[in-house]
């Protein structure tokens, strides 16, 4: 086992523990905080492979914007709801995880080598220019729709 694999195992274990924290905590604010920690740990796994562009995207855009807005919303509507983990669903979840993990263990035996990333990121803006334009259009359309929806409902 090399150092990178050990790092991924440790970070992955903490990410799963943090996700379990989202499931088990009763307060939405702490759930949002655990969710942000999970996302930061996922970006840390990307950092192990030196995919820095995605680390920046996840850490600053996803956690920095989406995560912080979620925390703000959870803090605004902060109360302790009556939440209970449905025990009936835990057994199928464990079975699915066990079966999938067995096949992953059997067939996913290769290591991950990330090479030629700089060239790929340089080509991204030209290869996927249309995708970026469409995505920006989608976000603007969503924002206008959200504003229209919010104004339609009377206070």
């Amino acid at each position: 086992m090399n150092f990178a694999t050990l790092m991924i195992e440790v970070i992955g274990a903490f990410a799963v523990l943090s996700a379990i924290g989202v499931l088990l905590t009763r307060d939405n604010l702490y759930a949002a905080l655990y969710m942000s920690v999970t996302m930061l740990l996922i970006s840390a796994i990307y950092a192990v492979y030196n995919v820095q562009q995605v680390v920046v995207l996840i850490a600053f855009v996803f956690v920095g914007a989406v995560g912080m807005i979620t925390i703000a919303i959870a803090a605004t509507y902060r109360y302790v709801p009556t939440r209970k983990v449905n025990i009936v669903w835990i057994a199928p979840v464990i079975i699915v995880f066990a079966v999938a993990s067995y096949f992953y263990y059997k067939f996913a035996t290769s290591n991950i080598e990330t090479q030629g990333l700089n060239l790929a990121f340089e080509r991204f803006s030209t290869d996927y220019a249309l995708l970026i334009v469409f995505l920006f259009s989608l976000i603007i359309l969503m924002m206008l729709s959200a504003i229209k929806l919010a104004r339609r409902v009377e206070l």
Binding site: I8, G12, I45, V54, R83, A100, Y104, N111, F124
Partner: protein
């Protein structure tokens, strides 16, 4: 254990925990949090693709971030509207659609 196995197993674990959170959530905010956890799982699944086709993998990451942002925008609007009309963000206040519990 191979690196691919660790990443795929971690991703699956986070996805299943997010499903459990969504199933057991009683309010829209917890549902929003569980949806974002699912997107976190998607980010992990995309990672092995960077060794095969980095450009496409990066496009999928960007697409995922935009999709997640759009979902957040709509769900926040839904939370605000539900709070205005029903005076709360509980799932039980939603009376249209879905299954009768």
């Amino acid at each position: 254990m191979s690196q691919l196995f660790v990443i795929l197993a971690t991703s699956l674990a986070i996805l299943l925990i997010a499903y459990l959170t969504a199933i057991s959530s009683k309010d829209l905010i917890r549902l929003l949090i569980s949806l974002e956890l699912m997107f976190g799982s998607v980010f992990l699944v995309v990672l092995p693709m960077f060794s095969l086709n980095p450009s496409t993998a990066f496009a999928i990451v960007v697409l995922t971030i935009f999709t997640s942002s759009s979902e957040l925008l709509i769900l926040i609007t839904a939370i605000v509207l539900l709070d205005r009309t029903k005076r709360g963000v509980d799932m039980e206040k939603v009376s249209v659609g879905g299954e009768v519990m």
